[in-house]
Amino acid sequence: MIWKRKDLLGLEELSREELEFILSTAESFKEVSTREIKKVPALRGKTVVNLFYEPSTRTRVSFEVAAKRLSADVINIATETSSVKKGETLIDTGRNIEALKADIIVMRHNYSGAAAMLARHVNLSVVNAGDGWHEHPTQALLDIFTLKEKLGKIDGIKVSIIGDIAHSRVARSNIWGLTKLGAKVTVCAPKMLIPPGIEEMGAQVTDDIDKALNNADAVNVLRMQFERDESNAFPQQLEYFKNYGITEERLEKAKKNIVVMHPGPINRGIEMSSEVADGANSVILEQVTNGIAVRMSVLFLVAQANEFIKKNEDAD
């Protein structure tokens, strides 16, 4: 297969074959991080700009490490959202970065659809590192990559996603990616945190945590963002832990080898207990390691596609 997308904006638009291609490319890149010299020249001479409009440490660092292991030059731009209102538009910022002859923009933005809008206005590659509540495709890819490593397959497995589905880009990307690859997805949260239309996206819905854990091969626990609650409709933190927190007692009733994931950073004692976070079922740190391989794969593929597009245009 030849990768033809210059951008990675979300998993909704990808086919099963495309998802599998990113994952298999990531498998071959994973080995690079185990070498003594953790570097390949795949993106030598390319410039990757991390453009972050929202504070993020782990995603930005992961992309930076991934780009550097591919020998790209990396520039980090962190912008306060408030300055967007007064200052330059996103499109102008994108065009300026393009004028610097950068090759890839990795963007985190607090507005849904920002990455898609940027991609329409620039010729360089855009990788969505999270846009509003919309998608966080590389997070879902690394979750799926980790699941495949642990369980040997995605087709037919049962994955439950627990937490604030309504405001979660991680949940949306996981639902698209997992269902396309044949997994059965259940989302579980208090009713006010389940957005409408989730079933039509292919997931089952429950507000009963024990049901969600029963028979699941894996559980992906989202970070609760109480600071986002404008309507004060969220359950209180302690109440949430009591009703939805992942504890050892709850896991005892689940499958013995259930895989426990979390995109981080963890609120210990809110979404899950420390014992679970650090326990035998947890793959949280492996997710971080796999994030590098997956992001290397994505950066490599979009750069290659853009090169391919440019060459074809020149030929015309």
Binding site: E12, T89, L90, I91, H109, Y111, S112, G113, A114, A116, M117, D131, G132, W133, H134, E135, R169, R172, P195, P196, G197, I198, E200, M201
Partner: protein, 421 residues
């Protein structure tokens, strides 16, 4: 000066006319409508194969002047109107200053006198500054020439204030136009609530936020025996509520906009801000209900809700982009393409929705081809196709949801007060 329009298919529902005949214009008035008019005219237009309609009356237009002349002016907006076959517009009051006093209306009237290309009727604001706090002097607005009142863009939240406003509009004999939206329910949403809002990760605007307010307003109108007009109906439930109210004899009329019978929320899925308006594009069943409502007469009028915005306000992140789309230059063609071609309406019914009924609701002497009435006439090639081109707009703004679409129906002549524009 005599102009003779020959051999066109004349459609004038006010006079139950739909046949090939001639129209004679003398000065600014229609002087005869008949077959084979024999007269020596100064100018003769051969309209064979074309349809001849009364100039359209668009009862929902944002001309933006005074205050936001960068988006549109009375001159550019009425120029766009004529291009789209619209010879009379109702200017919405959300200008700066708002049309909440006789003085402000006087200011707008001066601008209209100096620069308007079509007729412009004025809609006054129900409340001062359209803030929903204190009623405007509705008597004074009427006296100064306002033909309707509305806080369009905002709904009057207070039941009590709305009741008082309806008493005034009833007693003054001018129509109150309701922007039906409970902002507590629409809750800063930007697209239709449902699968679309979830897929896009955007806040949703529920249908309840619209139809619950429609229900309240209809109930108040019923209680007070006051006429009321519901603006930009977008969803099935609103149509049903209005249909039931009409059956009970409530004096309710309503309008929809071309985008609600031609586009669904699917159009928003790539975050195209030209598909962002309020109320938002809804689902397929809503679109069907709007078409049915037009067909069975529940929906009286089609109005563009022409809402021009600059590129700086539209070519940005979806959530930050302004609500609203332009429509004056595309509304007739969209209606022909969607409603005539698909046999939802016939041409007479279309003229009712786009000219006659709005004129009746506003109580203005427009929307007919009656002998003796002002010669506001359009000649349309209903078969001709065209592609919407952003460079070809007469409007200052380009935020059309129909860009690059193939549409049927071209306005070939717009005649305003007997003068070819």
């Amino acid at each position: 000066m005599k102009t003779l329009i020959k051999n066109g298919r004349v459609i004038d529902p006010a006079n139950k006319l739909d046949e090939v005949c001639d129209i004679l214009i003398e000065g600014s008035l229609i002087s005869n409508v008949a077959k084979n008019i024999k007269v020596s005219a100064d100018k003769t237009i051969d309209a064979a194969g074309k349809i001849i309609l009364p100039g359209l009356v668009d009862m929902h237009v944002h001309l933006r002047e005074p205050g936001r002349e960068d988006k549109e002016t009375v001159s550019s907006g009425t120029g766009a109107a004529l291009k789209g076959g619209v010879t009379s517009v109702l200017a919405m009051p959300n200008t700066n200053p708002a049309m909440d006093s006789a003085e402000n209306i006087k200011l707008l009237q001066k601008i209209i006198k100096d620069s308007a290309k079509s007729d412009v009727f004025i809609c006054g604001a129900i409340t001062k500054g359209r803030l929903g706090q204190e009623l405007s002097d509705i008597k004074a607005l009427k006296k100064q020439g306002a033909v309707a009142i509305s806080d369009d863009g905002a709904s009057v939240d207070s039941d009590k204030l709305m009741e008082e406003a309806l008493k005034f509009s009833r007693d003054e004999g001018i129509i109150l136009i309701s922007h039906a939206e409970d902002k507590a329910l629409s809750n800063k949403g930007v697209v239709n609530l449902g699968l679309t809002s979830t897929r896009l990760g955007l806040k949703g605007i529920s249908k309840e936020s619209e139809y619950k307010r429609v229900a309240r307003d209809v109930e108040l109108a019923e209680k007070l025996k006051a006429p009321i007009h519901i603006a930009h109906v977008s969803c099935k439930e609103s149509v049903e509520i209005i249909a039931r109210a009409k059956k009970r004899g409530v004096k309710v009329t309503c309008e929809t906009a071309p985008h609600y019978f031609s586009l669904t929320e699917e159009a928003v899925l790539n975050y195209d801000t030209n598909m962002k308006m309020n109320p938002p594009l809804r689902g397929k069943e809503d679109l069907e209900a709007i078409k049915q409502g037009l067909k069975n007469g529940t929906i009286d009028a089609i109005a563009s809700d022409h809402a021009p915005h600059t590129e700086n306000e539209k070519d940005i992140e979806f959530e930050r982009a302004e609500f609203g789309v332009t429509g004056l230059e595309t509304e007739l063609s969209v209606a022909i393409t969607e409603l005539i071609e698909n046999k939802v309406l016939n041409l007479s019914q279309l003229v009712e929705k786009m000219a006659l009924n709005p004129a009746k609701i506003l109580k203005i002497n427009k929307g007919t081809l009656s002998v003796g009435s002002p010669a506001d006439i359009i000649i349309v090639d209903a078969q001709k196709e065209w592609v919407v081109d952003r460079k070809a707009f007469a409007s200052k703004s380009k935020n059309s949801p129909f860009l690059y679409r193939d549409l049927k129906g071209v306005v070939e002549y717009t005649i305003k007060n007997g003068i070819y524009c």
